[in-house]
């Protein structure tokens, strides 16, 4: 019995396919993928819009007006002050532009330090094992059970006077390494046993070559995801501390703005133009980071990928 002509061919094309290699094919493939992964698209849009706001915004607005007495107090939005002023006479639009920058910078600096230190620690624990692993794992576990906010509140309260937003980032970085360390460790534990690592050994690769040429490239997706989570956590912590009044008193970060809003009872004064912008920007920032991470997760982890 052979295949008779009445049977349809095994595979039929019903839409244009990405021609591997060609630019058009690549774009087509990327476009199709993005349509299946709207989280990635929306996350990127939100974050890019915010970055554009704070980088392009300072071309049009004088960010030095983000200080007290830059204008009259508690003015509603006008052509001169598009978002009005606060009771101390800051130009709120300038505060938002500068504050977004400062807050994002705090997050990125703390996240970066956290990810670098954390992955180094996680790496040592996972790759070398033994006592180093036991001690590191124990320390990370203990540090992870105690709420970060407690440590941070105590530390920043001790150092409160003269704190800058960069100092804030360093304080937060003290704890930002815990999760990356744990995550990198567990990934290394898996990859250390991978078939391709054993193959590399059989191919004469030494320890360092295996670490940097075999394991590290495969760790990248996890590091990127860890980094985004660390940035989000650092921003969350910094804004939280600042909203408690434990932040840099002389810098117009978003968290300090929230603090002043509460200190000046903005709700009772009805200063809506002061309250809504920082809350909205922070919501955009947190949602953007969350969606970006969820989108990248789906990209990196095929098991979570929806069936096509």
């Amino acid at each position: 019995m052979t295949e008779s002509t009445s049977f349809p061919p095994r595979v039929e094309r019903i839409a244009e396919e990405a021609e591997p290699g060609s630019l058009r094919g690549t774009l087509l493939g990327i476009g199709r993928y993005l349509r299946r992964n709207p989280q990635l698209v929306f996350g990127l849009i939100l974050l890019l819009a915010l970055i554009a706001f704070t980088t392009l915004g300072r071309l049009f607005v004088d960010v030095t007006e983000a200080r007290p007495l830059a204008g009259p107090a508690s003015q509603p939005p006008s052509s001169e002050f598009p978002l009005g002023t606060d009771p101390q006479g800051r130009n709120i639009l300038a505060v938002m532009i500068e504050g977004s920058y400062l807050t994002i910078r705090t997050g990125v600096v703390a996240g970066l330090i956290g990810i670098v230190f954390g992955s180094a620690v996680g790496f040592v624990a996972g790759y070398y094992g033994g006592w180093a692993d036991r001690i590191i794992t124990w320390v990370v576990d203990v540090l992870l059970t105690v709420p970060a906010i407690l440590f941070l509140v105590i530390i920043s309260a001790m150092l409160q006077t003269g704190l800058t937003s960069l100092g804030m980032a360093l304080i937060i970085a003290l704890l930002a390494w815990r999760r990356p360390a744990r995550q990198v460790r567990s990934q290394i534990l898996v990859m250390r046993e991978a078939g391709y690592v054993e193959m590399a050994k059989l191919s004469g690769s030494g320890g360092l070559s295996i670490i940097f040429r075999e394991i590290a490239p495969n760790l990248m997706p996890y590091l990127i995801s860890s980094f985004i989570v660390a940035v989000a956590a650092a921003i969350l912590a910094s804004v939280g501390l600042e909203a408690m009044g434990l932040g840099p008193q002389n810098e117009p970060t978003l968290g300090m703005t929230i603090y002043w809003i509460m200190q000046f009872s903005a709700f009772l004064l009805g200063l809506w133009w002061w309250i809504l912008p920082p809350v909205l920007i922070l919501i955009v920032l947190f949602v953007g980071l969350y969606l970006l991470n969820a989108g990248l997760d789906e990209l990196a982890n095929p098991r979570l990928r929806r069936r096509t």
């Binding site: 105690v146 509140v153 001790m158 809506w272 922070l282 947190f286």
Partner: protein, 331 residues
């Protein structure tokens, strides 16, 4: 075997509490400021006490609070005290006892957090499981997206939005506080109504975000469970969709959620510090912030110790409860 494990767990618990309490004692000693001087300087500024007498007064107060004794002596006193939940006198609110301050704040926090957490857990878990079950429905995809967005927003930001729209603008709810400043706390109906009225916005701001968090977590687990072989077999057995959803899907997907819930309770004390601050709610969060800004060490010790105990107990709880809901770890 099981008993032996419980015993081992309890010993670990005590060790953890001891280690954390010790750390908690020594860490603030590194602070560059003397709390007594701070407090007296503050008093001097506000009430016109002669600045020159501060040094003299400091010494007297140091003696009063026992801060002039050697560190190790104070450490052992500290251990003895916390074992009996006696945290001494507050510096900031002298002569109030720390135990009384905590006793006044704790019920507010626990009442708010435990109720909200349980309700959010129940709603979030069910919604999340259903969202995974009906993954292809447009409605459920929309619900999932909304929940995902909510889960990413910190509680207090939602709180600020709610205060602005529902309290400041609409005037439906009070802007701040746990009860009206004009009423006297007591066990009567009208006060209870007032407390409830004041707690709605803080509870809502926690619930909106945490329903999202529980739902997204549950949805992910449920999707994983749906890919399991036993779900296929359950379908092939011709079971009713209701049984497959509840006994096969939800029953398995909920296991990690329960662990998270127990650990969540461990963080109840500090879980919503900022919500309390934003709403001026008279709970542990505000007490903690106050005592830290005023360098009230005894109160900080007390709060932190309560925190450590709740965390350690919640972890013990996980260990004890988990075998009951998952037969695989029972052996």
């Amino acid at each position: 075997m099981y008993l032996q494990r419980i015993l081992k767990r309890i010993l670990t618990l005590l060790a953890v509490i001891w280690a954390a309490a010790t750390l908690n004692f020594f860490l603030p000693q590194l602070a560059p400021k003397n709390p007594i001087t701070e407090k007296l300087t503050q008093l001097a500024e506000t009430s016109g006490v002669d600045g020159n007498r501060i040094a003299e007064l400091t010494e007297a107060f140091n003696a009063r609070f026992g801060l002039d004794r050697p560190l190790w002596e104070r450490y052992f006193d500290y251990l003895g005290d916390i074992a009996t939940f006696d945290f001494g006198l507050s510096i900031a609110s002298y002569p109030a006892r720390v135990g009384d301050l905590i006793g006044a704040a704790l019920p507010w926090t626990i009442g708010l957090m435990v109720t909200t957490t349980l309700i959010s857990f129940a709603i979030g878990t069910l919604v999340g499981a259903y969202a995974a079950w009906r993954r292809d429905s447009v409605l459920m995809q929309a619900v999932s997206s909304v929940l995902m967005v909510f889960s990413a927003i910190p509680f207090y930001l939602i709180g600020l939005v709610l205060i602005y729209f529902l309290a400041a603008k609409a005037g439906w709810f009070p802007i701040s506080g746990g009860y009206s400043i004009f009423s006297i706390p007591g066990w009567n109906w009208s006060f209870a109504v007032e407390v409830f009225h004041h707690s709605i916005l803080p509870a809502l701001s926690i619930a909106i975000a945490s329903i999202g968090i529980w739902a997204i977590g549950m949805r992910g687990m449920m999707v994983t469970v749906q890919g399991e072989d036993y779900m296929t077999f359950a379908k092939a057995k011709g079971l009713t969709p209701r049984r497959i959803f509840l006994r096969y899907g939800l029953r398995n997907a909920i296991l990690p959620q329960v662990t998270t819930l127990a650990l969540f309770f461990g963080q109840v004390v500090t879980g919503a510090v900022l919500v309390e601050i934003v709403f001026g709610y008279p709970g542990m969060g505000n007490l903690l912030l106050e005592s830290i800004t005023l360098f009230d060490y005894p109160t900080i010790y007390g709060i932190v110790f309560i925190l450590i105990v709740t965390i350690a107990v919640s972890m013990l709880l996980v260990d004890l409860i988990y075998p009951l809901i998952d037969p695989r770890v029972r052996t």
